[in-house]
Symmetry: C2
Subunit: 343 residues, 2 copies
Amino acid sequence: MPELVNRQWLLAKRPVGRPQNGDFEYREVHIPTPGEGEVLLRIINALIDPAQRGWMDAVGNYFDPSPLGEPMRSGIIAKVVKSNSDLHPVGQYVSGLGGWEDYTVVPEGSVDIIPYDGSQELGAFSHLLGTKGATAYFGLLEICGLKEGDQVLVSSAAGAVGSLVGQFARIKGCRVVGIARGPEKCRWITEELGFDAAIDYGATGDLSAAIAEQFPDGLDVYFDNVGGEMLEAAIDNLALHARIAICGMISEYNQSDAPGPRNMWNLLVKRARIEGFLVSDFRPRYQEARAAIDSWIKEGRLKYKLDEREGFDILPKTLNCLFDGDHDGRLLVKLVKEVDTVI
Amino acid sequence: MPELVNRQWLLAKRPVGRPQNGDFEYREVHIPTPGEGEVLLRIINALIDPAQRGWMDAVGNYFDPSPLGEPMRSGIIAKVVKSNSDLHPVGQYVSGLGGWEDYTVVPEGSVDIIPYDGSQELGAFSHLLGTKGATAYFGLLEICGLKEGDQVLVSSAAGAVGSLVGQFARIKGCRVVGIARGPEKCRWITEELGFDAAIDYGATGDLSAAIAEQFPDGLDVYFDNVGGEMLEAAIDNLALHARIAICGMISEYNQSDAPGPRNMWNLLVKRARIEGFLVSDFRPRYQEARAAIDSWIKEGRLKYKLDEREGFDILPKTLNCLFDGDHDGRLLVKLVKEVDTVI
């Protein structure tokens, strides 16, 4: 007999500050049936992502809020197990937005088909070959307008996006310094990923001075995953015509009224630019990023680290690992070991 | 007999906060003699400009500091009265950087030749046809990437640059709202210059709410001449893909540690951009701006206001009029009524 139950973690309350266990509610329901032009997906991986904290708020940021009483919205990697669509045959792998549940029904074309053939690590499609790779790629090349020889600073450098930003910039002939917390992450990005240097955020008293030491002539590009005081310290150290991409501001997700950079004046002095972006704006061009990244993988020029954990029950607590820094690479939760497509 | 004396206002001290009378020192010296490849200029107009406050500080901003014990650095309009250069025949009018003095010697090519034929108002070359015009032109079209139909906000809208920004944006088919202080300036920009609306900064308690009222769907372009809380209020009200040009921040010239915008997060949400610029970076393209502006003048589509005052002795006190808002249009001081080129 196939499974008859669809497990779900519902968003039950909107948290103030850090999410709590009571913000989610466990439920078991029947597996839904796809209608015309729809497919039933078995969710294999749930991606744990900072954006999810924003979706828990009542006021939508760049997405509508994740609705109360429904499975918590999540990036997913899934397999088609029933199909009423020629686009998506049974057995196809897809990625996209879903929720914290075992099964979900989606309309055809609403998820991305991923070229998984069993030889790759499936989780890589959530990372290098997924939106994280595209975020690093378009943020660096389009928003920052990266040029060979640029002096590049990346925050959250051991994170999912930051670790790719640094490697892409190295491939493009730039010098890269990463900010990360703790000697282990700093060692990883320099010795394993090939960053030119690391600044240990936990051990550095004066961040602005530490950046100045690494960039005596100023930095050309800052890829900002953090915001707050880190952004201010970077603005202190701009070279002429510097470009800053604001990719995410995890430090501000749980704060409502964080102080802003006191040195905006320096943008004028240095004729510099700050630009916020969302990778979803580049969705029509994802294939371009995937092709470039795929070629770098095949040349053995990219390293990445997945922090894959197992079990449906651990989803809520795993989300908080993001805010504690208690994870090591792209964080995802595997919901099922093997997928039987005959249900 | 020609004049034998070159009057000078030297920068004697570096002010803290507002400049004081004692920061300048009056001196009379001999008129200098041009060497090979140099010309002697009779300075006709000294332009009074916010950038001068920055030049008085010990730490250079985008220019080196104005040296102590030398004439206070100033934009000038001048006439060539002695020449050892084929580029600059006697009688030619030029503009550029000089100092607060009657005469100065400059190397050929270090000043811009201006096409003054006696029919125009000479001061206009410090404004529409000079760097102020180029600042408004390139800031709006290049830095903000202005598009027809954009919703545009301008601060210091009755100022030298702001009044042109608004008029250029109207010519380009945009809706323009200006922020200015006091009913008289607000009346001038709407009734005379054709701005669609004005926000009276002096009469508005909640600036962010006042902007929201004018831009219910958000603003596409903010041309920032002020910085500080005005920048924050604009960031509150961005439309998707909004562009902000930071042209000057007069409110911060006399403050060292002004608070920064607390809402930088909104740049990410709205995929918006802030970019600082200096018009001098566009110097190779000034002719392009001058040609466009000249055609708009000839079509009767531009209005401007010069606040020209007379007398060498009033230079120091006139500089402070900038910070008191006590001026009405582009501020310049005329040092001499007529220029005799035979000295």
